[in-house]
Symmetry: C2
Subunit: 148 residues, 2 copies
């Protein structure tokens, strides 16, 4: 497992303990290898339907860099981004997107809107899906099983 | 012009004066008719690529209501939402979406991702486009002409 995806998974596990859907994300500076920000889904605790892990980590990384764009940065996230997050990743100019589990029901990269394939998408990251897919997906499946 | 779209336009004009792309949005309680929140695009000033008017106004309305969902609420926004915002509007459970100018280059409702037509969309608002289209579009055209 990549160290970066491991950090994203650790964030996702923290989220689960707080009753949040367990998705975690980190943003890495491609030059230094440094993790600029790490975050998890916070929709419930923040009363914010836009507070998916990807949006929260983009906001934190932009704040850390004092810029609205994250040039030369990669994102690692434990679940395929939805259309909202796929577009936000595009706007932030993320270079490479590494995601864990595929999301046929809600994904917007390989499924549904397939945002990066649209003519309305003006920057598409290089996408690598299925990274540590089993562990990322198991965490989500366990979380939703406990809710039933 | 509807009073609500006028309020969204006023917010958009405020944004232009601050160098932000002039898009404004308001969220209205369908029962009381009260404006719960009004906001404009704040991407540059907040260093936040997700801070489109729709996302900012959803965050503010959710905070005001102390809920992650905005049941029985409508949104008025001066521009066709992008895919990011279209999905956020879905997650927030907005009932009716009224938008001003169509956005063939970046829209995600009638163009591109057409998010509400996807199987990965689990709540679609009723959509009314082209409300006060001329004035909403003129504001954007003037803003971008001045930048050249």
């Amino acid at each position: 497992m990549t160290d970066y995806m491991l950090q994203a998974l650790t964030k996702a596990k923290d989220a689960a303990r707080q009753g949040e859907v367990p998705v975690g994300a980190v943003i890495v500076d491609r030059v230094s290898g440094e993790v600029i920000a790490a975050a998890a889904n916070r929709c419930e605790q923040d009363h914010d339907p836009s507070a998916h892990a990807e949006i929260v980590v983009i906001r934190a990384a932009c704040k850390a860099k004092g810029d609205v764009r994250l040039f030369d940065c990669d994102m690692y996230v434990t679940l395929e981004p939805c259309a909202m997050c796929a577009a936000a990743i595009s706007f932030a100019r993320i270079k490479n997107l590494y995601f864990g589990a595929y999301d046929p029901k809600g994904g917007g990269v390989e499924h549904g809107a397939q945002f990066y394939n649209q003519s309305t998408c003006h920057h598409a990251p290089d996408v690598y899906g299925g990274i540590n897919e089993q562990e990322c997906g198991d965490l989500l499946r366990e979380f939703f099983q406990k809710l039933r």
